[in-house]
């Protein structure tokens, strides 16, 4: 382990090896100092931080470099971000679950600290002074007694010759100057100039354009394709079948879309054509206590619930993701090498999916063994992750990569596959519909003493319902998962969204049945969850309670390593209720960039409002009935209320920020409506038009 381009291994359990490091760029004015796979310093003083997480708006291209820059003591203006290629140094590359920061926190701090230590060593050696007399500051090493200084740029040649320590001393949080400051995002300039390149903006020489038609019924296949009209359109190059549907290949996107519209396909609808959302609800309703799986059992809830319990049931619909950038992927397969440009949340998964198209099972197994035995990577596939025009969980699935790969493999020419919005909405992996059966019992003081929650749905999961934040002595949580009967998948905050709704809305039903103020009762029963309780106190304090208490609703939820409480304030406008303001307080541990954290909560609240008030997916005859933004509407500017976000001061290790703001929104809104109307909400979305909720 010697020169700077060689590897080092860290106590945190990630080993860096030489082969994992990006190649050194020797073309510019000498060498670069590359102490590990996360950063490079060049002789002009640029610090290039490599980010292996996908940038879909949630900010890793800024927040992760901030962590490196902090420990490196670098002038932030010198920092550039570079996206990682697929590289085992970064582990399985997947961005999801609000984990970018928590996953990278320890590693990236060490990456920066180790580099700082080597630069200190390099300067001390150069001056022949003790290292204890040197300090790293703003991209330079200072020699304190003599006031001499050397820039990082000047130290690069020396640094590349020095051994890389396994670990270096980290800063104390009170020494942070970059972490915790609202630093402008590194990707903003390109996103306001039109220069930012998303997947759909990829251009390759000689590229052809493709679009796809999937069977409108889940799982169906084309039986007969009438291509005649399509092939008559000037610029249409070909029409053919792939695994997932029918491809129209053309000279540009518009011609491909026109060709798609002219197709006449006879489908074999398969065995899912009788599925409807109504039939799923009916089935879920029929499934009784004998089909449940026990998730939590504490105390003896049955005994208490059998006598005079309060019951409620909630039905929450399927939801689509609808990121503004439709599904797309660009691929070229030339000379046996597949190259992919994809807006994907998981380049590692994209690699696996593409390989299953280009290689037989035997080849794949052989390649996997080679990698395992000799460490030789399969270089026949290159994955380039572009910027993502929204993700929200949709781009964890790699169906679009599989499709583009099949087209490129067949045509041997570069191709860009773009889905129409209609295909996007009708062939999503949906946030599942769920049913929640709730039962609760109160003691003689009106305090909740027993709680029973049955969660039912396709691929239903208990997270977010399995650890109640309240002191309720007798609890039972059961699950009925009817499996993936149609395509379902993670959607911003996943199961936390539906479970938080059931838990937090039913809590208000119990509180009001026991004649308790829901806010006071929450605070009273949160003795075991101090961090969550604090967010509730702060959110409540920030809200103007001076008008009528009756028009407020609160909800709290812990998830993704963070704690969030939201308050929804309604106001009467004639015969309608309008949202006056939404307040959120969140403890996400140390907030690396508080401004990005705030933006994520603002966005989560808008996302939550869309699901609570506007959007839903229904299925009939095995087909999704919505098709574009006109019938799957999302919240707009006029419908967005004022939002206040408080990032709670915290010294906890960093938690998630992209998702934890979503779960409390719908229940806080339903609780406000309950307070105003006296009626609980049984179904989402809540009827909403002309910017208001009708008072019934």
């Amino acid at each position: 382990m010697s020169a700077g381009v060689a590897g080092a291994s860290l106590v945190i359990g990630i080993s860096w090896s030489c082969s994992n490091n990006p190649p050194v760029d020797q073309t510019r004015n000498g060498a670069q100092f590359i102490p590990n796979a996360w950063l490079k310093i060049d002789t002009e003083g640029h610090v290039i931080v490599t980010v292996a997480e996908s940038e879909m708006g949630q900010g890793p291209f800024t927040a992760l470099p901030m962590i490196v820059a902090e420990e490196l003591n670098v002038d932030w203006r010198h920092v550039k971000v570079e996206r990682a290629t697929l590289n085992p140094a970064y582990g399985y590359q997947l961005t999801g679950g609000s984990t970018s920061i928590s996953k990278g926190w320890a590693t990236l701090r060490q990456a920066g600290a180790v580099a700082r230590q080597i630069l200190l060593n390099a300067a001390a050696l150069t001056w022949q002074v003790p290292i204890s007399e040197c300090r790293a500051e703003q991209s330079s090493i200072l020699h304190l007694p003599s006031k001499k200084s050397l820039s990082y740029a000047a130290l690069v040649p020396q640094a590349t010759q020095l051994p890389i320590p396994d670990t270096a001393l980290l800063k104390e949080p009170n020494e942070f100057t970059i972490i915790g400051t609202p630093t402008p995002r590194l990707d903003t300039p390109d996103k306001i100039s039109g220069r930012a390149r998303f997947g759909i903006d990829t251009k390759l020489p000689g590229m052809q354009y493709a679009t796809i038609t999937h069977c409108p019924v889940f799982g169906g296949k084309p039986k007969r394709i009438d291509k005649e009209k399509t092939l008559k359109i000037e610029g249409v190059l070909d029409v053919f079948k792939i695994e997932e549907g029918v491809i129209v290949l053309a000279k540009d996107t518009w011609t491909a879309f026109k060709g798609k519209a002219a197709l006449n396909i006879e489908w074999d609808f398969g065995d899912k054509q009788s599925i409807s959302s109504d039939s799923i609800i009916e089935t879920l309703n029929e499934l009784g206590a004998d089909q449940t799986t026990e998730v939590v059992k504490q105390g003896n809830p049955e005994k208490l619930l059998n006598t005079g319990s309060l019951e409620s049931e909630y039905t929450l619909p399927f939801q689509a993701h609808v990121p503004l950038e439709p599904m797309n992927c660009t691929a070229s397969f030339e000379g046996g090498k597949l190259r992919i440009w994809a807006p994907t949340q998981s380049p590692s998964e994209a690699f696996d999916v593409a390989r299953s198209v280009t290689q037989s099972k035997i080849q794949r197994t052989a390649n996997k063994i080679k990698t395992k035995l000799f460490g030789s990577e399969d270089n026949s596939i290159e994955i380039n992750t572009t910027l993502l025009g929204g993700g929200f969980g949709r781009r964890l699935k790699q169906d679009f990569v599989s499709e583009a790969t099949q087209v490129a493999k067949r045509t041997k020419k570069p191709v860009q596959l773009v889905w129409t919005r209609e295909e996007d909405i009708q062939h999503d992996f949906y946030h599942p519909l769920t049913l929640h059966e709730m039962r609760g019992a109160l003691d003689e003081n009106g305090l909740p003493i027993a709680w029973h929650h049955i969660i039912k749905g396709p691929n239903a999961k208990p997270h977010g319902a399995d650890r109640l934040p309240y002191d309720i002595p007798n609890i039972r949580v059961d699950l009925i998962d009817i499996g993936k009967i149609l395509p379902v998948g993670p959607w911003r905050s996943v199961m936390h969204a539906y479970n938080a709704f059931a838990v937090e809305h039913f809590f208000d039903e119990l509180a009001r049945a026991g004649n308790h103020d829901p806010l006071e009762l929450r605070l009273q029963l949160m003795s075991q969850t101090p961090r969550l309780k604090k967010t509730l106190e702060i959110a409540a304090d920030k809200t103007d309670w001076s008008s009528e208490r009756g028009l407020f609703g609160v909800a709290s939820h812990a998830g993704f390593g963070s704690y969030a409480s939201e308050v929804v304030q309604l106001v009467e406008h004639g015969n309608r209720l309008k949202i006056e303001k939404i307040t959120c307080a969140i403890d996400c541990g140390i907030a690396i960039n508080p401004d990005i954290a705030k933006a994520q909560i603002e966005g989560s609240i808008v996302f939550g409002l869309t699901a609570a008030l506007k959007s839903f997916i229904t299925i009939r005859d095995g087909q999704v009935q919505q098709s574009n933004y006109h019938n799957y509407p999302i919240l707009n500017m006029a419908e967005t209320p004022p939002i206040e976000v408080v990032i709670v001061e915290s010294d906890g290790s960093p938690g998630g920020i992209g998702e934890p703001g979503v779960p409390p929104l719908a229940p806080a809104l339903a609780n406000a409506l309950f307070a105003a109307s006296g009626k609980p909400t049984r179904n989402l979305p809540i009827p909403f038009d002309n910017g208001g909720i009708k008072i019934t």
Partner: protein
């Protein structure tokens, strides 16, 4: 056919019914204008035609032949337009995909209304959808840009 985009006249050979969006994106490599819905409801494809916001995904190119088209690439070379500056100051974009449409719509609003009220902003901006939920910041940035343009004292309408 000749079209005038960002004060440059381009001679293009296309089917005149081709929507302007695809001429910009696939033929002129002006990819800052985005495809979102194809039916004129999401606003990601917004460009200005003679100063007015137009949905380029449903605008046949033949209809704009003699008009001046402004896309995001023509707003400035260096993000110096007051609206872009406000966008930078407020840190509006998240994923960024819809932002060209947001910025051009905001520019059109401010060109016609120096001090837009909240209601004016709602009316002008509600056709441009953002799934990331940047609306609160879009509103704030429009007010800031209005202040900058009018050299105002910072109070917002």
């Amino acid at each position: 056919m000749k079209i005038n985009i960002n004060q440059t006249v381009h001679d293009i050979d296309i089917d005149p019914d081709t929507p302007l969006l695809w001429v910009l994106r696939d033929h002129l490599d002006l990819t800052g204008t985005k495809y979102g819905c194809g039916i004129g409801v999401c606003g990601s494809c917004t460009v200005l035609v003679d100063g007015l916001p137009v949905r380029s995904c449903i605008t046949p190119t033949s209809e704009v032949e003699d008009q001046e088209i402004l896309t995001i690439e023509g707003v400035s070379n260096d993000n110096s337009h007051p609206v872009q500056q406000a966008w930078e100051d407020i840190q509006v974009p998240q994923c960024g995909y819809c932002q060209s449409g947001q910025i051009l719509t905001a520019i059109a609003l401010l060109n016609n209304n120096k001090r837009p009220s909240d209601r004016d902003i709602d009316q002008a901006m509600s056709g441009v959808l953002c799934r990331c939920g940047t609306y609160p910041r879009v509103r704030q940035a429009i007010k800031m840009a209005a202040d900058k343009k009018s050299g105002g004292n910072g109070d917002t309408v």
